[in-house]
């Protein structure tokens, strides 16, 4: 697992070096963050899962308090409050913490209850998920909210919820979809989804991102234009080419082969993570490791799907490759936890 992680991170740094136009400053920033994240991963891997179990309710409660603080006194950036800025501490997003804390909490709740869960337990689990997810959606940050909720629900599914109930849930979702569409979404969110189906309706505005990213990927072909040779990214046609849309840089410069290599690495990580989860002796460890690795998968899928024009544009970075520190730290810490599950198989 560690070796594959190093492969992904190394690969990501090479691509990033191209995406930042060989800007040494930005590149070394990211390399340092990755180093820090790896360090935290190693630390996380040393901690016994029992400790995680013990601290879970506290972490969850603390995260929830911070989420409420964000809503009350968060720093507003581009129209949404996502950041907490305490003097003396670096700015950070409590919603990132919740990506770990919510699945941990659900796993904690289920760990000493008989599974498959009873209806009452399910309801409690849903409450555990919906409160923080709701807070995040209110920021508003729909993308992270859905990811957090997804991570929690992954635990519920792994815990053995009856298929019947999943079917009902999907049915309810399908029925309420129109209502959500008209009342639950903001105009810009509706626009993003509509744009997905017809990017050419506003090629210079809402459709710009998706047109330019598919163009970048498509023009890469099988082998790509060569590292540092991407015209879409280096001539600034590709937006967010260092962050959310970095996969398009890979697609353009390294082609289908480049993307498939990365996807294969991701797949190995996911497979290995799930295997570790199944081998874990205790419910909490199983559920936690499984949920974390599934969240990781959702990241990959949503990001690649969005950049290749299959899913609406939501702000989800490409795991371990996109420029930025917070998400790298969250992800590597979650891998650290998975490693901890692996290395402390005893109780």
């Amino acid at each position: 697992m560690l070796a594959v992680l190093f492969c992904v991170i190394g690969y990501g740094l090479v691509v990033l070096y191209s995406a930042v136009d060989r800007n040494m400053n930005l590149f070394s920033n990211q390399a340092m963050r990755m180093g820090l994240a790896l360090l935290l991963m190693v630390v996380a891997a040393q901690i016994h899962p029992r400790v995680y179990l013990r601290w879970t309710p506290l972490a969850y409660a603390g995260g929830l308090v911070m989420l409420l603080l964000v809503l009350l006194m968060g720093v507003e950036v581009k129209g949404s409050r996502r950041w907490l800025d305490f003097p003396g501490l670096p700015r950070f997003q409590p919603s990132e913490l919740m990506k770990l804390a919510v699945p941990m909490m659900v796993a904690w709740y289920f760990h000493d209850r008989p599974l498959p869960p009873s209806f009452k337990d399910l309801c409690v689990a849903l409450v555990i998920i919906v409160i923080p997810a709701g807070c995040i959606v209110l920021q508003p940050d729909l993308g992270t909210g859905i990811l957090v909720a997804g991570a929690g629900l992954a635990v519920v599914v792994l815990a053995g919820i009856q298929w019947r109930l999943i079917g009902y849930a999907l049915l309810v979702l399908a029925i309420s979809a129109p209502w959500v569409w008209w009342y639950g979404l903001q105009d810009y969110q509706r626009l993003r989804i509509l744009t997905l189906f017809d990017p050419q309706s506003d090629p210079l505005g809402a459709g710009w991102n998706i047109i330019q990213s598919t163009t970048a990927i498509g023009s890469g072909g099988l082998y790509g234009k060569g590292l540092f040779q991407g015209t879409q990214s280096h001539l600034d046609f590709l937006p967010e080419s260092q962050t959310d849309f970095i996969i398009a840089v890979i697609g353009e410069e390294l082609g289908l082969v480049g993307i498939l290599t990365l996807l294969a690495l991701y797949l190995v990580l996911i497979g290995r993570g799930l295997y570790i989860a199944t081998q874990a002796p205790h419910t909490f460890q199983r559920l936690l490791a499984g949920a974390l690795i599934l969240t990781f998968f959702v990241y990959v899928f949503v990001n690649v799907g969005m950049v290749s024009g299959l899913l609406p544009v939501v702000g989800v970075p490409l795991p371990l490759v996109s420029y930025g520190g917070t998400s790298a730290i969250t992800l590597l810490v979650s891998f650290g936890i998975i490693m901890a599950v692996r290395s402390h198989r005893g109780w």
Partner: protein, 628 residues
């Protein structure tokens, strides 16, 4: 805690978990397969589409405007060239607060309300994202420097540079050379889309318009790689534009300056022609306008003043001003009568100062008539009728000719026609005849009409260019040269397709021509002969001329003076006063220059227009004579 765990069915949980994990892994595999499918679709099946789209994105074919051909005078003095101007432009997408930025810019350069209005208009038009939009045109060097210093504080502000037409003499050649204007949407419909794809100015008047095709040149192209902000990263290949042809005109800038100075503040026109070639040496129409204003964009207010002024500075009097020729027409009438055998040089009449048609009461008076003074010129033959400008003599002569014959004869001198080779939009003037009058006024031709025409009044209309052409033909003793602007060009010009040569004037004998020239010399040089014996212009210009000059004055009525009333300048509105004319050429025996001078509402031709004509001839001839 341990007991609780034992209550759970750990094995079953593990089985469930394993099944779920396996299932979810399969789901993940399916979803990843979906992504792979999508990627294969983009990168393999539709690769070429996206390859093309990517190239379209970054590679742009940009037309390059050719530099417009230069225009020189006959001595190589630049009359029109190109200069770079810089404009202040903004990239809207990079400006968060537009109003604040404009405010900030206004503290560095003058930005008028009109600039802002124009900017907002341009901003509304369709454009690529990050395309700069011009805010202020024509920055001064100082403004460019100030903007450069503050550049880092002004994100989204760019300075663009382009070549535009420049007229170094401002208004001096406005009517002679013409001018270019910004290409309008209307123009775009008429012009060749490809040739003019990068062109922003098109010749609208005069030489600039006539030789537009040659002056314009051929558009070039460059293939450039641009980034998303529309900035050029590198030029991939370039097919340079071909500069327009340089042309030299017949104009003599020194003469143009002298002629303009001679006219001074007065409204009027001067056309000077080289009788040997027909080349237009000078063409002045006063007041003029500064054609540079139209290049860099003229303000609405300024334009309104220009176009609504009663003095009509935009109007080219030299080719479009149509006036009665007055007595300048008399030499032509005399030559007509001679060629028709209606009169001979020996015939004479008694001029008592008035004329009456047989059987009519109306009295036609001589110009010298005053209340209480009959003003007759005494015994008058054709020569004396010219240098004394006797109206009575020409009234009499007019009755001896058929008007249609006189009209045809006048047309041989280019009156009522457009004869210039390369001067666009000239007016044709009017030489009336019976058919015209029936058609235009529904009246028959009265004998009185012939009398008016005999002294160059009535419905007869000529332009200063036409009178200059007429006097050129007289200077050439009937031989024709068409007026023309072009002297030479590096290569043959597509537009220059000279019309057929006009035949020499038929009728007058060589002797008639010489006698007429002599009579016109008397107009200027015959002096010190006593009361009513001198040439009409002698007292005003006749003294101290270093060469022999032939001329004829004319005074054109603007409003009709009723029977028995005296023309009183003081009582008339300035714009209703008579127009002063003078036509001349010199040296009389070997003419090098022929000129017509018009001073609008100037008064008497001899007193007002003749001195201007002499200044022009002096300016042209004296340096040449000194060289000999």
């Amino acid at each position: 805690m341990a007991s609780k765990i034992s209550l759970k069915d750990n094995l079953r949980e593990r089985q469930i978990f394993f099944a779920r994990a396996l299932l979810l892994f399969l789901v993940a595999l399916c979803l990843i397969a979906g992504l792979v499918f999508r990627l294969v679709q983009l990168q393999i099946w539709e690769h070429e589409t996206y390859q093309t789209r990517s190239d379209d994105n970054r590679i742009q074919v940009q037309p390059l405007a050719p530099p417009r051909g230069l225009i020189f005078d006959r001595h190589g003095v630049l009359l029109a060239d190109n200069r770079p101007i810089s404009s202040l432009a903004m990239v809207r997408e990079r400006v968060p607060d537009l109003d604040a930025l404009i405010q900030q810019l206004a503290s560095l350069v003058t930005i008028t309300e009109e600039d802002v209005v124009g900017f907002e208009k341009r901003l509304e038009r369709a454009r690529r994202p990050f395309e700069p939009v011009a805010l202020k045109l024509n920055l001064s060097e100082e403004e460019i420097a100030r903007l450069a210093v503050h550049r880092h504080e002004l994100p989204g502000v760019e300075i663009t540079t382009e070549l535009v037409r420049n007229y170094p003499f401002d208004g001096l050649f406005a009517h002679a050379v013409g001018s270019v204007r910004r290409v309008t949407e209307d123009d775009l419909r008429k012009l060749d889309e490809v040739r003019y794809s990068a062109t922003r100015f098109v010749g609208k008047r005069g030489v600039e318009r006539f030789y537009e095709q040659s002056l314009h040149g051929e558009v070039g192209y460059q293939r450039v790689e641009i980034d998303a902000h529309g900035r050029i990263r590198q030029v991939l290949d370039i097919n340079p534009p071909v500069a327009g042809q340089n042309i030299s005109l017949q104009l003599d800038s020194r003469l143009q300056i002298s002629a303009t100075a001679a006219l001074g503040e007065r409204r009027g026109a001067i056309v000077a022609i080289d009788p040997r070639s027909g080349g237009v040496l000078a063409m002045v129409s006063n007041p003029a306008y500064n054609p540079n204003l139209f290049v860099t964009g003229i303000g609405d207010e300024e334009y309104r003043l220009l176009s609504s002024s009663r003095d009509t500075p935009m109007f080219n009097r030299a080719i479009n001003g149509q006036y009665a020729p007055g007595s300048t027409f008399k030499p032509l009438v005399g030559l007509a009568a001679l060629s028709m055998g209606a009169v001979s040089w020996e015939d004479h009449i008694e001029d008592k100062g008035w004329f009456r048609l047989p059987g009519q009461k109306r009295i036609y008076r001589d110009w010298s008539w005053r209340v209480g003074n009959s003003g007759g010129q005494g015994t008058v033959d054709l020569r004396r009728a010219i240098y004394r400008s006797s109206n009575v003599y020409f009234y009499d002569l007019a009755t001896r000719m058929d008007v249609d014959d006189l009209s045809r004869f006048a047309q041989q001198f280019g009156l009522g026609q457009r004869t210039a080779v390369d001067i666009p939009d000239t007016s044709s003037g009017l030489v009336p005849n019976r058919i015209w009058k029936q058609g235009a006024k529904g009246e028959i031709w009265y004998p009185g009409d012939s009398l008016n025409m005999g002294i160059g009044q009535g419905d007869l209309l000529v332009t200063p260019l036409q009178l200059a052409t007429m006097v050129t033909v007289i200077a050439n003793r009937g031989r024709w040269v068409r007026p023309r602007m072009l002297l030479s060009s590096d290569r043959p010009l597509v537009e220059f397709d000279p019309p057929r040569a006009l035949p020499a004037v038929q009728g007058p004998t060589p002797e008639d021509w010489e006698n007429m020239v002599d009579a016109m010399e008397d107009v200027v040089h015959r002096g010190n002969k006593g009361y009513r014996q001198n040439g009409t212009a002698w007292a005003h210009i006749g003294r101290g001329i270093a060469y022999r000059m032939a001329g004829k004055s004319g005074t054109a009525q603007v409003v009709e003076i009723r029977q028995g009333e005296e023309y009183d300048e003081e009582e008339l509105d300035e714009y209703n006063r008579k127009h002063a004319w003078f036509i001349a050429f010199a040296p009389a025996d070997e003419p090098l220059i022929a000129v017509s001078v018009l001073v609008e509402n100037g008064g008497g031709g001899s007193s007002v227009a003749a001195p201007v004509a002499r200044e022009v001839l002096d300016a042209f001839l004296l340096p040449q004579l000194a060289n000999r």
